[in-house]
Symmetry: C2
C-alpha cells in the first residue's frame, strides 16, 4: 500500500505529503542541536532525536502553514522550534518522573545523569527561542513564549494535583492543556500566523490543535490502563504505580463508595501499594465504566478538533483532509 493511499495511516500520509519540508526540519534540527564547545549536548540530543518519535508536532506546524498557502521558509524554523521545545520538556520530564525508558530506549538521565538532562534541556529551550527569533515575527514569539509558560505551569500543577484525590476533571483538563495541548495549539496557530491567515482561521487552527492535544493526552492516559506494552512502549498500570491521578481514576473516584475511596487514598495519595492492587484498581475502573467514559471524552475532543478544522477554508484541501483524519486516528488507538 502506498503512502498516499487513503487507507494508509493519516499520520504517515501527512508525513509523506510534507516529506520535503520535514527533511529540511530534520537538517535544521541536526545543525542547531550541535555545540562546538560542549560535545555532550549533541550526544544527549541525538540519543533522543534519533530514537525517532512521531514528529507529530512539527508536522502540525508544517501542515497548518502549507494548508493556508504559505510559500516562505519560516515554517521550517517554527517546526524545529516546536520539536526542540518538545524534546526539552521530555528531557526534563524524565528527570522529574525518574523515568528509565523513553521511546523504547533507556532515558538520557539513566545513560548520562540528571545534570545532563536538565542542562541539555535548557540548551534546547534556548535554541528553540533563537530559532523563533529568526522568523522576525513578534506575534509568533508571543504565542510560543506563552505556550512555554503554560507548559511549565501545567507540569508544576501536575506535581501537586497528581496525588490528590480532590483533583477533579476541571483540574485534570488544566494540567492536560498545559503539559500537552498548549504546544499542539501553538504549533498549529503559528502555522496560520506566518501564512498570514485571517484571524478567524487562525483561531480555528488554534482550536483544532487544542482539541487534538487534549484528545491525544486522554488517549495516552487511557492506554496506560488498557494498552499493550508493545503498542505504547509503557507497561499497563505505570501511572497507577507512579501514583498519577489521570482521567480514568478521577472518574472512578467520583463514583467511589467509602471503601473504594479508602483504596484510592491508600494507593494513590499515600502510595502504599501491594500485589493485587493494580488488578483491584482495574476492576474498579471497569465497575464504574470509567474506561468507556474516558474513551467517549477522547472521541468528543477529536470531534471538536475535526469541527474546528472543517471551518478553515484551505488552499490545499487534501492536506486539510489529512489533518481532519489525524484527529480520528489519534483516538483510533483505543477504538
Amino acid at each position: 500500500m502506498s503512502l498516499d493511499h487513503p487507507a494508509a495511516k493519516p499520520h504517515d500520509r501527512l508525513a509523506a505529503a510534507l516529506s520535503q519540508d520535514m527533511e529540511a526540519v530534520n537538517t535544521l534540527i541536526r545543525a542547531r542541536m550541535a555545540s562546538e564547545n560542549a560535545p555532550r549536548i549533541p550526544e544527549v540530543t541525538a540519543h533522543l532525536v534519533d530514537a525517532g518519535g512521531k514528529r507529530l508536532r512539527p508536522l502540525l506546524t508544517l501542515g497548518s502553514a502549507r494548508m493556508m498557502g504559505y510559500g516562505g521558509g519560516h515554517h521550517v524554523h517554527l517546526a524545529a522550534t516546536v520539536e526542540f521545545i518538545h524534546t526539552a520538556t521530555l528531557l526534563h520530564d524524565d528527570v522529574v518522573d525518574e523515568s528509565r525508558q523513553r521511546r523504547g530506549r533507556p532515558t538520557a538521565n539513566l545513560l548520562w545523569d540528571n545534570k545532563s538532562s536538565v542542562l541539555v534541556g535548557d540548551y534546547l529551550f534556548a535554541r528553540a527561542f533563537q530559532l523563533m527569533v529568526e522568523t522576525e515575527s513578534l506575534r509568533v514569539l508571543d504565542i510560543l513564549s506563552n505556550a512555554a509558560a503554560t507548559i511549565a505551569e501545567g507540569e508544576v500543577l501536575q506535581l501537586s494535583a497528581a496525588q490528590n484525590l480532590a483533583t477533579d476533571e476541571e483540574i485534570y483538563l488544566k494540567v492536560v492543556r498545559g503539559k500537552t495541548a498548549a504546544l499542539f495549539s501553538a504549533a498549529t496557530e503559528v502555522g496560520g500566523v506566518i501564512a498570514g491567515a485571517p484571524e478567524g482561521e487562525i483561531a480555528a487552527l488554534h482550536a483544532y490543535g487544542d482539541a487534538l492535544g487534549i484528545a491525544f493526552q486522554i488517549v495516552d492516559d487511557l492506554l496506560d490502563y488498557q494498552g499493550e506494552t508493545k503498542a505504547t512502549g509503557k507497561n499497563v498500570g505505570d501511572d497507577f504505580r507512579e501514583r498519577k491521578l489521570t482521567l480514568p481514576v478521577i472518574k472512578a473516584v467520583a463514583k467511589a463508595d467509602a471503601e473504594e475511596r479508602a483504596f484510592w487514598s491508600r494507593t494513590i495519595e499515600k502510595g502504599q501499594q501491594d500485589d493485587g492492587d493494580l488488578d483491584h484498581a482495574l476492576a474498579l475502573l471497569d465497575k464504574h465504566g470509567a474506561l468507556a467514559e474516558t474513551r467517549d471524552d477522547a472521541i468528543g475532543w477529536a470531534h471538536r478538533a475535526k469541527d474546528a478544522m472543517a471551518r478553515v477554508p484551505s488552499a490545499d484541501p487534501e492536506l486539510r483532509a489529512m489533518l481532519v483524519d489525524l484527529a480520528d486516528y489519534v483516538v483510533s488507538r483505543v477504538n
Copy 2:
C-alpha cells in the same frame, strides 16, 4: 554615611541612584512570578527572590540604559528578564550541584524537591521570554536568546571540564563566559540597545559586562579558597570537595610535579578525598603562587571592564562613574 557619599559601596550607590527603577523591577518580578494555576510556583520563587541577592544583573541593565539617556519603560522589563533568567539558572544549578544552601538559606530542591526546582526554573525561563517579547525589539530578543544558549552551553561544558585535569585556562574562560559573563554582557548590551546607542558604544557596553562578569566569577572561585564563610555564604574548599576544577587549581596543576599531579588526579578526577587533603591542596596553591596569580587575573579583567566603560560617552557621567567603580568593587573583595 549617606548612600550617595563617594565612600559608600559602589553597588549600594548604584542601587540608590536607580532605586525608583529598581522598585518598578521588583513590582514587575512579583507580578510575573505569580501563577493562578500552580501556587507552588510563587512559593518556590519567593523563597529565592525574597532571600535578596544583590540584584546586580538588573542594576547593570537599568544603569546601562539610563547612562545612555533612555527615557522609556522597557528597561524595567529587560531588568526583570535578566533577573528571571538568573533565578532560573540558580534553581537548575542547585539541582545539578545537589546544593543544600543558597544565599544563607536551604535551597529550593531541599525544601521542596528536585522536580519543583526543575519545573519552576522552566517556568521562569518562559516568563523571561514573555517579558522580553513585550519590548518588541527583535535585536534584544536575539541578544538574550543567544545569551540563554551560551549559559546552558557553558554549564554543560563545565560538567565535563570540571573534573578533568586537562582543562586549561582557555577552557576555564569558555565555561566562565558561559555560566556567568554571558548574562552580564547581555544585561549591559540590551540597556544600550533599547536606549538607541551607537554601535560602537553598544559594543563597549558589551565588553564592559563581559569583563565584569569574568572578574566576578574569578573572584568567586578565588574566595572559595581564601574567603570566610561569613562573607561568601560558602565554606572554604567547597569547590575542592565538589571536585570543581577552577582557576586557582588549574594554575597549580600547570606547575605540578609528578607527585602533585597524582594528588590532584586522586582528589579531583577520582574524587578520593581524605582528611587533610584540603590543607594539602591549599599548601600547593600557596607554593605555586596560584591564589596571587588568580587575583592578578581578576584585577586584569576589572581593568578591562573599566577601560571599556571609559570609552562610552554618557548622558549621565555620575552613573557611568558608579559602573566604573563597580568593577573595582567586584575585585575589592579579594584585595
